[in-house]
């Protein structure tokens, strides 16, 4: 049964008056492939949009690419934001009609973006060192953590997973903000949960894991949930779900969560996309 408790573990409700949400036309500055699957998109936007927090997302009105116009907006995590230069970055995998449309954008084109939406990652001032574990498009979502953590003097160890080394994105970005990066891939057979668990256990042992941050893999999320319980560590997970409105109106993006043994349904766009690691269900 669906109770949809008004329980917000994130900072959405308090943040809302201070963090306006805008729907606006931005100017495309750059839109280039970074590897076989991903594109890196940079737009110039308003200060409000550029004030996005790590973990928040935008709803992009994707142009069509010869096929029919994608009807709904498409959610994309903030990959980078710079309030000074009013730049906003996205890293997206070309998947279907919407992202194929995005891939047609050229510098000088315009893109309608709506956001920043949802709750971002939050930091506890007492933390010294956190671990970020991401895979696939989840690497895009975790990337801006590197900068936010650094600004707060928190050290990051990033475990970045992909099918092949050439599909690993954000590695340089994490490093540029002083993070330690461990890359694991399927092709090298280093990405299995057992190996990641081994790496995580040694980080915990070395006191380098005050909290888990994860996105993009249920398997790796479950590993972290187990360790979080075992060592009583906090954690946050950024989740995905198909969206229509992106701002809590339509209830199409719900997921179930386990809150103290009770299953509750929450809207990913509004109550998340960042949720308490321990409550998340795969």
């Amino acid at each position: 049964m669906n109770h949809m408790h008004p329980h917000h573990f994130g900072s959405q409700t308090e943040a809302s008056p201070h963090h306006p949400v805008v729907a606006e036309l931005t100017d495309v500055l750059k839109n280039e492939p970074v590897n076989e699957e991903y594109y890196h998109l940079v737009v110039r936007c308003s200060p409000e949009a550029a004030a996005a927090q790590a973990g928040q997302f935008f709803q992009l009105l994707c142009p069509h690419s010869g096929e029919a116009q994608p009807f709904l907006r498409r959610p994309m995590s903030v990959y980078g934001m710079n309030p000074q230069t009013r730049e906003l970055e996205f890293l997206y995998k070309v998947t279907g009609a919407g992202t194929r449309g995005l891939a047609t954008l050229r510098p000088g084109d315009q893109l309608d973006v709506f956001g920043p939406l949802g709750t971002g990652f939050t930091f506890d001032p007492s933390w010294r060192s956190i671990v970020a574990v991401g895979r696939g498009a989840g690497l895009a979502t975790l990337a801006p953590l590197a900068r936010s953590a650094k600004e707060r003097g928190i050290h990051v160890t990033a475990i970045l997973s992909a099918r092949r080394p050439d599909l690993l994105v954000s590695v340089d970005l994490f490093r540029s903000f002083g993070a330690d990066v461990v890359t694991v891939t399927d092709s090298r057979q280093t990405s299995g949960p057992a190996n990641v668990e081994r790496i995580l256990r040694s980080l915990i042992a070395e006191n380098r894991c005050d909290a888990f941050f994860t996105c993009g893999s249920s398997r790796l999320m479950r590993v972290q949930q187990r360790l979080a319980h075992e060592f009583d560590l906090p954690g946050q997970v950024a989740m995905e779900q198909q969206m229509a409105c992106g701002i809590g109106l339509c209830y199409c993006c719900v997921r179930d969560f386990n809150v103290d043994g009770e299953i509750v349904s929450r809207r990913v766009c509004w109550d998340g996309p960042v949720f308490d690691l321990k409550e998340a269900l795969p």
Partner: protein, 321 residues
């Protein structure tokens, strides 16, 4: 308000209720989140997502699928129940001067009535009865599919509340004018035309329905010509106001509905694509009227010009090529 703005009177009357303008959200496409992008005090009304007495889970996922120019949804009516609504949701709207219209649903006429009675309290301006839901006393057929079941549920509702009562019809019936007349005869103050059109989509990769609920309701620009026709037919059939709802994305769409006979309109899916659609329409509507020297937006209502020669009775039933 400056002089330019005050030239056009945007207000419309829905029964005894005067709205500051004819633009309001469609149930299920509006919630507190929208405060972040527009001022609720500019809207003609606030209309809530349909609530039920009990807790309800809603439908299995996926709950939406897109099609060209349209959305199919099968959200179901996830509801935290009436107690939660009164305690948590309602106070949220107390800060606004805009009328709060609460959409309700129930599986029986009696259930509708008791819910309406419970909601007949200060702070709630009107009840919108979403009677497109299955009537368990009629083998699960939606109330609004037939005139008799519409009459019964509306009569019970009318007895239960003295609030303005809007009855929201389903477009999935061939007897809409009769259904609208039944609502009017049994005491509705307005009819909302209409809910979504029952639809389906299949995923060609898996051969499974795209929606967890198999079928869902179609909304968005694709449905506009159909619902506009139903608004026109219903406005001819009844004397109470008709509130148009289906595929409205811009001021031109809203005007098309008003001149077809709608006294106000609801905006749903368009808000998902452009969150400020409602306030944009309000601004543009004022400009539309000013530009054409129309002093009152209410003068547009039912303004479609039909030549006698265009109006052979049978032709309406014989548009088929």
């Amino acid at each position: 308000m400056n002089a330019v703005e005050s030239k056009v009177d945007l207000s419309v009357k829905i029964g005894g209720l005067t709205l500051r303008n004819p633009i309001m959200p469609a149930s299920g496409t509006f919630a507190e989140g929208l405060e972040k992008v527009l001022d609720f005090d500019r809207l003609g009304a606030c209309v809530t997502k349909t609530i039920t007495r009990e807790l309800r889970t809603g439908n299995p996922l996926p709950r939406v699928v897109e099609r060209p120019g349209s959305l199919i949804n099968a959200i179901g009516i996830p509801s935290k129940g009436v107690a939660y609504f009164l305690e948590k949701t309602m106070p949220h709207y107390a800060g606004y001067s805009t009328p709060l219209v609460v959409s309700i649903s129930a599986p029986t006429a009696e259930g509708f009535a008791s819910l309406a009675a419970e909601l007949t309290i200060p702070g709630i301006t009107a009840i919108e009865a979403n009677i497109s839901c299955p009537n368990i006393e009629e083998d699960g057929k939606a109330f609004a599919m037939r005139a008799e079941s519409t009459e019964k549920v509306t009569r019970e509702l009318r007895k239960a509340t003295n609030l303005p009562l809007w009855v929201k019809l389903t477009p999935n019936t061939g007897e809409m004018p009769d259904v609208a007349r039944a609502a009017e005869a049994s005491g509705a103050d307005a009819v909302v035309v209409a809910n979504t059109i029952l639809s389906m989509a299949i995923d060609l990769k898996t051969f499974r329905p795209c929606l967890g609920n198999v079928m869902g309701g179609l909304s968005g620009p694709a449905v506009k010509p159909i619902i506009l026709r139903q608004v026109f037919q219903c406005a001819k059939a009844v004397d109470i106001p008709v509130i148009g709802c289906g595929g409205i994305s811009n001021c031109d769409d809203a005007v098309e509905y008003l001149i077809a006979g709608a006294s106000a309109v609801q905006v749903g899916t368009a808000t998902f694509l452009q969150p400020k659609t409602m306030t944009t329409i309000i601004d543009d509507l004022e400009r539309f009227c000013a530009h054409r020297d129309i002093g009152r937006v209410s003068d547009l209502i039912g303004g479609v010009v039909i030549e006698e020669a265009d109006e052979p009775d049978l032709a309406w039933l014989d548009p088929i090529s």
